[in-house]
Symmetry: C2
Subunit: 573 residues, 2 copies
Amino acid sequence: MADETSPPVDQLVVASVREDGPSSSLVKKAQFSDRVLICSIVGRTDGGAGLAGERVRVGGWVKTGREQGKGTFAFLELNDGSCPANLQVIVDASVSDLAPLVPTGTCVSVDGVLKTPPEGAKQKIELRVEKVIHVGRVDPAKYPIPKTKLTLEFLRDVLHLRARTNTISAVARIRNALAFATHSFFQEHNFLYIHTPIVTTSDCEGAGEMFQVTTLIGESERLEKDLIKNPPPTEADVEAAKLVVKERGDAVAQLKAAKASKQDMAPAVDELKKAKENVAELEKRSKLKPGIPKKDGKIDYSQDFFARQAFLTVSGQLQVETYACALSSVYTFGPTFRAENSHTSRHLAEFWMVEPEIAFADLQDDMNCAEAYVKYMCQWLLDKCYNDMELMAKNYDKGCIERLKTVASTPFVRVSYTEAVKMLEDAVAKGKKFENKVEWGVDLASEHERYLTEVLFQKPVIVYNYPKGIKAFYMRLNDDGKTVAAMDVLVPKVGELIGGSQREERYEVITERIAEMGLPMEPYEWYLDLRRFGTVKHSGFGLGFERMILFATGIDNIRDVIPFPRYPGRADL
Amino acid sequence: MADETSPPVDQLVVASVREDGPSSSLVKKAQFSDRVLICSIVGRTDGGAGLAGERVRVGGWVKTGREQGKGTFAFLELNDGSCPANLQVIVDASVSDLAPLVPTGTCVSVDGVLKTPPEGAKQKIELRVEKVIHVGRVDPAKYPIPKTKLTLEFLRDVLHLRARTNTISAVARIRNALAFATHSFFQEHNFLYIHTPIVTTSDCEGAGEMFQVTTLIGESERLEKDLIKNPPPTEADVEAAKLVVKERGDAVAQLKAAKASKQDMAPAVDELKKAKENVAELEKRSKLKPGIPKKDGKIDYSQDFFARQAFLTVSGQLQVETYACALSSVYTFGPTFRAENSHTSRHLAEFWMVEPEIAFADLQDDMNCAEAYVKYMCQWLLDKCYNDMELMAKNYDKGCIERLKTVASTPFVRVSYTEAVKMLEDAVAKGKKFENKVEWGVDLASEHERYLTEVLFQKPVIVYNYPKGIKAFYMRLNDDGKTVAAMDVLVPKVGELIGGSQREERYEVITERIAEMGLPMEPYEWYLDLRRFGTVKHSGFGLGFERMILFATGIDNIRDVIPFPRYPGRADL
């Protein structure tokens, strides 16, 4: 991890494979580059104090720089992204021209010696520069993200530089940690990572919210350009070309009649062939029409790249089930897409989802897995990203570290939907006001979910066994005939973090459910095959990865926890 | 990992959290389900022999089943995907009806006792069933993948069931292992995993090979349907509605003239308001036109979801560079797309790429990283997937295990492009025939690459410093002015596995290169900002993940090493 707070000293080995950088026996060198990581100096439990006297090369970007002592030396706060802390760097005017070094955002690479700072200093170690290796300058007048306090909203317009800010770089490290925690958790539990497709022809949730993937528009635009450059032949052009064929045909016929030798006839035959080819080509071009190809008034998708209408996936679940019904425990972790015109702080058009799927598992197993996974991620952040979490606690959400600790250590509450509705009704009876009505059979609104997890229980809550009317066709019908084996994990700060269910494995029941919901059967034939042949009870869930980051960091807007947010009207870079 | 060959005994702890399954003190229970993994029995170094006497529940799919002893018992070869080996299961007719158990593909879950088989048996352990918990039946007459030997080509038409075959499940485990090896390698080396965008508006490689992402077609199809159902108003309709407004206006005017009270006027004012709204609505609808919205004869992308033309990414490199130039060492691992009309065994329309990017690193560092990464993956497979590799060696590529060993242990050869061309010219002079001409300044063809790595050196070869004319604008210009600091890693069996370069960090040089190559400057302004503000030397590469799997397994067709292959005309599921 980039920000381990206390790398064991025995890991701090340096093999100076490069001859142009200074080596050190105590500081861990970044492999595949010529510098040491700043986190391996200031990220140590002793703040780097034990490294005094070591020679190192470091590189990074200046957070703040200032000339001091009437321009005789400069202080630079240097950060290389490996941890939230900066390394204090001191450059003497005798070593380098100081003015180009101090602007915020300047990239510098320097060789120097680590020294104990004067008593009373905040930092435990600082670097005295002996040689400046590289300076990547910044003109402060033009730098898009100057030192002043910038809002996260402002930074969304500077996606390509915002990773240089404290917040966005900390979020990037937390996001990285959660991604690796995800893989580690599932690998430790013998799940196989399956890459489900991004482009899909299974239009399972209704095309309304799906992005279409096509080459038809591009092709038609190319054709249109081509037709302007080379207008299609007119009917007269084609007729003229046909006349040439006739003339050439006559010429050949004459030669034939005159019993000309093959050799003598060859040129004429050749000309005839060319004339015929020309007609064929002209006829083909005369049929070219600008615009997207149509057939019977509808777009002719047989001419699209995949020979049918294709979309960006909204979930890998149905596809990953095919692997669960063969390899038992699997998961997918990849991008998913919704073409919803949502401008909220909780929705993205492109976001990442983690979707495990377990054969031989029922809803209880599913809840156990979800709970263990969320706890694992919380503990992982506490273990590996404490510094970054402190930054979040300081700047965004005082309670975020406490929240991680609580979730990591407290069993989740589990209540049925029916019990949850009763609890909410009780709250209403006691005077609690909700904007949305609480009623059995209606889905819980976000305010209800947050009331349960934030007020009533003050910890994560799993609500299970929802009315079938508000859930998807593939969820297993319970024996009561009214509810399905679905579950949602609700957590403080974001509400619903996970949605899952036991899947309906009974062929007769699932086909009836599909019919009941007015869905067509044909697109699901492959999915039904899993029930026709060697069916098995299985369960799974989906976790919105960005939701987890919001939960962990306390950041308010989902656009700030993904490197390149996509939402209506915006897809920068 | 799913197929660790020898789980240390101290890991074989069972906490029987479920009361309905038998527990065992020696066999590792699959968490989040009620069974034990078959790999934890037959995948042990002793083949499971040490587990005789243990009670377990297992579940899986029958590979082969047969009734024996005149129908008094049945043998089932059971596989749950956790490893390539099956567990031999014996069911007595007194325990269960045998006929439904034996068809290939049947799912069974059983409780039983592990027993030492009779002497001379191939297996080291077998399961005597005491109770059959679940049977997911198969009608052999209808099962799409019967027991007979099936070709990989045939299986491409049965994507949803092919993971139940030996080959595809082994490939899935190898793919999973390589994915986790990738994350492990980069995390160990302090790289941060960055999710670069899938939908992009940076059309960096020319729209010709890119898929377009749009909601315009869907919207226009919806509009068309709506207009057929509710035809737009005619001009006469609008005029009639305007007439009503006039009449209502007159009525209000009359009341006003008659000095009616506000209360008396209210109904008439209300009617007038409604009539006006009706006109506005009709005028709006009368302007609706079927088809994709256009402006000045071109498609009006301002009305598309992202308010501009958007595509599926062909590479995350340019975007991940923005993070490298802030966080130093980063990588991306995600799906990428090419809309090429390629029908070869080496191309997919959707494939996964691993792209590290390192700040403060030059081409040497880049090559060191690429070599270390490939070696790491090879060793990982030898350590964690040996059983699956044996299956590949047996069925597809005798030499694949040797190849992994060689690559893991031998330093890669490094030759400049100029040297490589000389070597190929020498080979030609000695009588070697190539279909493509070898000539300085022309890119190496696949046959040249494979000759270098398979014949000349018989190990991985890194070719570096290519002529600038055949490489991308962002590659760093060498001091000779003719070559760029690019490198390709060539490996036996697949040829090019990795392509990378040191990036051009000098603002003046890169802008000149963009101009020289006739590219527009505007789309790259954000990319140029990385050179304008705090620029740094940096390097990176891309590894085609499916290429790596082809290299490892010896499988011939790339469509067989990704769970859901996408290529021209095909995007099943």
